[in-house]
């Protein structure tokens, strides 16, 4: 019977099935062992790797602080700018001969962005050149247009699906609504370069960041910039975001960015405007208006100015390059802050301090007088006066700016260079004011030792004669003189100038209120102060006073003009062509207002302006008048507001 027939494997195949089964089991157990190793023993490590694969930290941009003037008007803020990037490879095609040509997407773009023919051709050349060279660059996104207009942005974003390979990317750029007004004080922004980055990286800066390059933007960078935040997101192997497994994110998932601090300035934008307007017919110079009771700067203007918007990158790199070229090729040196960084011979504006030195040392009293014949010969040299003043008293010497009177203090009364230097330095000349923005010049107050050293051991009394009228080696900045006169006006308090009134959060809460800072109390005898104050009043208001012709009706001011000689060595052909201009005297006016109980001190410098009385004083008076008008406006507005609240 068939059931009894032995199986066919008996013989050759027999026991071998068991061996095969054993091998199968052993090999499967090896796989099982591998699973135990991978999933049970190493599971946590692999889970960590898997998590690492998908979790990315993306930085969240912060916003730079806003700068406002004294009254809250915005003078520096940020705005969104849109740049257009293209991928050359995706928007071009190769024709039969392998030459690149523009693709259909490009035609659509030209239509949507309504590019002009000339513009279109320029872009096409650029794109085709990159495509022609090939390589990685043809596949990367390259910037084609910067700061494109809102209309085009809207059009491109609406039709984004029809425009593969074209990307519109928002970037934040600094915006200065007032353009060139106060540009030196505010400063501008620049992109960090590799060298700066080496230094700044540990402070959290990265490629493409912008950093304050000058002015307040630079000095207050750490307050303004804010802190970046970050967020953990899940991205797949291709870098696309996929939020499906957000449960695996560990806390903290997100750190909010902290916006930069806002700054409230002491400066009044309306006063700035008035200063710019007053100086509009002048080519170059600087002016500062300071509250004598606090040292707070109300207005600070340097001419010629520049547009920080162009330098800060908002209009594209090309604009930045051009703006910089213009900035550094202009013989009138717009890059220089003429209120702080430029030091000029102060001329007669130092006379009150020379006089004060003579009075304090007891060399003269107010009764001292002399006769001015228009010059004084001293040794082999003749020192000139502006005119023949005739009999000249102490009062007249300052009010009408008689040089001979001051020459005689040196030649006949024993006034030395160090005596002058001591008083000048006491009022802050020859030292940095400590405003802290821009590279401040300390000016120069020569001493006997310094002059001797500079002249190879020779000291001539003529140096002192020059120093007495602010010529020769003496230089000063607009800011220094304004502060020195503020100290004269307020009875001897030399302030450290202040430009930032307070630091505020984005929602307006004051974080830090900055109080005025006194540099020192200057020893100033009230009798002498009165003598000088009278003379400064005379200079503006008396017949024959140096600035009396520029006097404006209704303006109560006191001050001193200065006309400092320059001997200019031209450094380039443009300067040589205009040598008549560059050899003209600097015109100064510095003073305060009102003359009794002064509120503000002013210093105006018109570079190569000619005479102080004719060119600087009118500017200063116009500014002072504008100041009083604005103060009056504010007072009335305040009264109205108070009255309005009380009436109903």
């Amino acid at each position: 019977m068939s059931l009894l027939v032995p199986r066919p494997d008996v013989g050759e195949f027999r026991l071998r099935f068991r061996w095969l089964a054993l091998i199968v089991v052993v090999l499967f157990l090896a796989v099982v062992g591998r699973m135990v190793h991978l999933q049970l023993m190493m599971g946590d490590e692999y889970a960590a790797i898997a998590r690492e694969n998908v979790v990315r930290k993306v930085t969240l941009a912060t916003t730079r602080g806003i700068v406002r003037d004294r009254k809250g008007e915005v003078v520096a803020a940020s705005r969104a700018s849109y740049d257009m990037f293209v991928e050359p490879k995706r928007i071009t095609a190769l024709d039969d001969k392998g030459n690149p040509r523009m693709g259909d997407v490009w035609r659509r773009l030209v239509e949507l962005a309504s590019l002009g023919d000339e513009e279109r051709q320029r872009y096409e050349q650029k794109i085709l050149a990159i495509r022609g060279r090939g390589g990685a660059r043809a596949e990367q996104q390259i910037v084609l247009m910067e700061d494109i207009s809102r209309d085009i942005v809207a059009a491109l974003m609406t039709h984004a699906r029809e425009l593969p390979g074209i990307h519109v990317v928002p970037v934040s750029v600094r915006y200065y609504p007032r353009g060139g007004v106060g540009a030196h004080m505010l400063g501008y922004m620049r992109e960090v370069d590799a060298d700066m980055l080496a230094e700044l990286r540990k402070q959290g800066y990265a490629e493409g960041d912008r950093v304050g390059a000058s002015g307040l933007e630079r000095a207050w960078e750490s307050y303004l910039r804010g802190t970046r935040g970050w967020e953990k997101v899940l991205v797949d192997a291709r870098g696309a975001r996929r939020p499906t497994r957000e449960d695996i994110l560990e806390d903290p998932k997100r750190v909010e960015p902290i916006p930069g601090r806002d700054l409230r300035l002491t400066v009044d934008a309306r006063i700035q405007d008035a200063m710019v307007k007053a100086m509009q017919s002048e080519l170059a110079g600087g002016a500062a208006l300071i509250d004598v009771r606090t040292g707070r700067i109300l207005g600070l203007v340097s001419k010629p100015t520049f547009d920080p918007n162009q330098l800060s990158g908002g209009f594209g790199k090309q604009t930045v390059r051009e703006a910089f070229r213009k900035l550094f090729n202009d013989p009138l040196k717009p890059a220089l802050d003429k209120t702080l960084s430029g030091a000029y011979p102060p001329g007669s504006t130092v006379k009150p301090f020379t006089a004060l030195a003579a009075l304090e040392k007891g060399l003269i009293d107010q009764r001292m007088s002399t006769v001015c014949r228009g010059f004084l010969s001293f040794g082999k040299r003749i020192f000139r006066c502006t005119q023949s003043h005739g009999p000249t008293s102490f009062h007249k010497a300052i009010a009408q700016s008689c040089n001979v009177y001051f020459y005689r203090l040196v030649s006949d009364y024993g006034l030395t260079m160090d005596m002058i230097a001591e008083v000048a330095m006491r009022f802050g000349l020859g030292q940095k004011t400590g405003l802290g923005i821009n590279a401040e010049s300390s000016g120069r107050v020569p001493t006997r030792a310094w002059m001797t050293r500079r002249n190879k051991g020779q000291f001539r009394i003529g140096f002192t004669v020059n120093a007495a009228i602010g010529q020769g080696a003496t230089t000063a900045t607009v800011m220094q003189l304004a502060l020195a006169y503020a100290a004269l006006a307020n009875g001897g308090t030399l302030y450290q100038p202040q430009i930032v009134r307070s630091v505020e959060t984005a929602d307006g809460a004051v974080v830090q209120d900055l109080a005025p800072r006194v540099r020192r109390r200057v020893t100033l005898d009230s009798t002498y102060r009165q003598l000088i104050a009278d003379a400064l009043w005379g200079g503006v208001n008396e017949e024959g006073g140096t600035s009396s012709r520029a006097r404006l009706a209704g303006l109560d001011a006191a001050g001193k003009t200065g006309t400092s000689q320059v001997s200019h060595r031209p450094t380039n052909s443009e300067e040589l062509d205009n040598i008549w201009y560059f050899n003209r005297d600097h015109a100064w006016f510095t003073g305060y207002s009102p003359s009794k109980s002064p509120e503000v001190a002013i210093c105006v410098l018109i570079e190569h302006g000619g005479s102080g009385g004719k060119h600087a004083a009118p500017v200063a008076f116009e500014i002072l008048q504008a100041y009083h008008r604005i103060v009056e406006q504010d007072r009335q507005a305040e009264e109205k507001a108070l009255g309005g609240r009380a009436s109903p």
């Binding site: 066919p8 494997d9 796989v31 591998r34 790797i49 898997a50 797949d236």
Partner: protein
């Protein structure tokens, strides 16, 4: 009449398949349900897993890939129908035409060189209209059938010497070399493994065995010098996977991370992180196991391995009960085919073996692979169903 002597460990006739119901001679009364059910479970799991694996393509430019699990269902249906047909025909008919089947397979392999289209630098496919198939896949069962026919016709009880192995070696070498030339080293290797597995149930002369091992020992390194750069790269990457995570080692590395990330209980269905975040390339062809292991964890991986293990051991059981030598060898060959595919694929994705293009049976996407596996299952079913029918082979023993 005495009762038959029962094999060791089997105490009743019923267990031996000799119960009253099994005494009926009709093959369809002996359908091998365990074989069918286990294979069906694997196929269902494969489709379910493929749905998750390709779900990452939803809403992308390759959204079509998210639909391929439906194709896989079609292939399984076709495979099931073909398999039903194949198991309905008594395998004696297959035995009769075994060499013809073999020659047809070799012919289609040769055709590849004429009609091939290139996929990733290798020509493995033949297009017939919109339909393309991989002759090398179908060659595997053809070879099994041919070797079975040879051993069936050449019964011996004394050890086989080298001279007597020449025919099976040639039978294996012809398709093996053709496939290696495509080049498809993985499939060529599979041919060799099928040959070795089948020959393992025969008795081989000791000297011949030593000689064969020596040949492999010397020939292996020699083969290395002829290997193509990409093949060498796969092996070197395997030996030092950390050296090249972004390049060649990418697949292997992320597959391993996915498996490890499954830990004991898995991330949950449709939730495998490495897969969902698209770190697993080819997750529906050669790398479905990491997707499964990540989502179902160690527990799931053990279940799947147990199912494959059962299938292979069951094939050996079928072989041991086959009514004739042909059935036994075919069963061993089919079992070996399933075993080596599963072992090499899982070994490869878990970093035990170098990366070789080897589909995971019933898990990997592809009509050729699905049809080959279902064909093997059908052959096993055929042998299993006819273990009791007339011992026509008796005369040949």
């Amino acid at each position: 009449m005495s009762l038959p002597v029962l094999p060791r460990g089997i105490s009743t006739l019923r267990e031996l398949g000799l119960g009253p119901s099994n005494l009926s001679g009709r093959p369809r009364d002996h359908i091998d349900w365990p074989l069918f059910v286990v294979a069906a479970i694997i196929a269902v799991l494969g489709v379910v897993n493929m749905y998750s694996a390709t779900s990452v393509y939803f809403g992308t430019t390759r959204a079509g890939l998210a639909e391929i699990y439906i194709n896989q269902v079609y292939w399984l249906a076709i495979g099931g129908a073909v398999g039903a047909g194949v198991s309905a025909i008594d395998y004696r008919h297959i035995e009769r035409y075994a060499y013809l089947i073999y020659v047809a397979g070799v012919f289609s392999l040769a055709l590849v060189f004429v009609l091939a289209r290139d996929v990733r630098g290798a020509s493995r496919w033949i297009n017939i209209g919109s339909f393309s198939f991989q002759p090398s896949e179908f060659m595997k069962p053809c070879l099994i059938v041919a070797l079975a026919k040879y051993l069936h016709d050449d019964p011996r009880s004394e050890p086989r010497t080298a001279r007597e192995l020449i025919v099976p070696v040639i039978l294996t070498a012809i398709p093996g070399l053709l496939i290696a030339k495509q080049p498809d080293l993985g499939t060529a290797l599979m041919m060799g493994l099928i040959f070795v597995s089948i020959m393992a149930i025969t008795r081989i002369d000791r000297k011949t065995l030593v000689g064969a091992l020596a040949t492999v020992g010397i020939g292996g390194p020699l083969l290395w010098t002829f290997a193509l750069p990409y093949q060498k790269a796969r092996v070197t990457t395997f030996l030092n996977p950390a050296a090249d995570i972004k390049g060649m080692g990418y697949h292997a590395y992320h597959a391993r991370v996915a498996i490890g990330n499954g830990r004991a209980l898995g991330n949950g269905y449709m939730n495998g992180m490495q897969n969902q975040y698209r770190f697993l390339p080819d997750q529906y062809t050669d790398f479905p196991f990491p997707v499964f292991a990540e989502e179902w964890g160690f527990v799931g991986a053990m279940v799947l391995l147990a199912l494959y293990g059962f299938l292979v051991l069951w094939a050996l059981r079928i072989a041991s009960q086959a009514r004739d030598r042909f059935g036994a060898v075919v069963s061993v060959g089919c079992g070996a085919l399933i075993f080596w595919h599963a072992f090499i694929n899982v070994g490869m994705v878990s970093g035990m073996l170098p990366v070789v293009g080897m589909p995971l049976p019933l898990f990997s996407y592809g009509g050729s692979s699905v049809l080959t596996i279902t064909l093997c299952i059908a052959l096993l079913m055929n042998v299993s169903m006819r273990r009791y029918s007339g011992f026509s082979a008796l005369s040949r023993l």
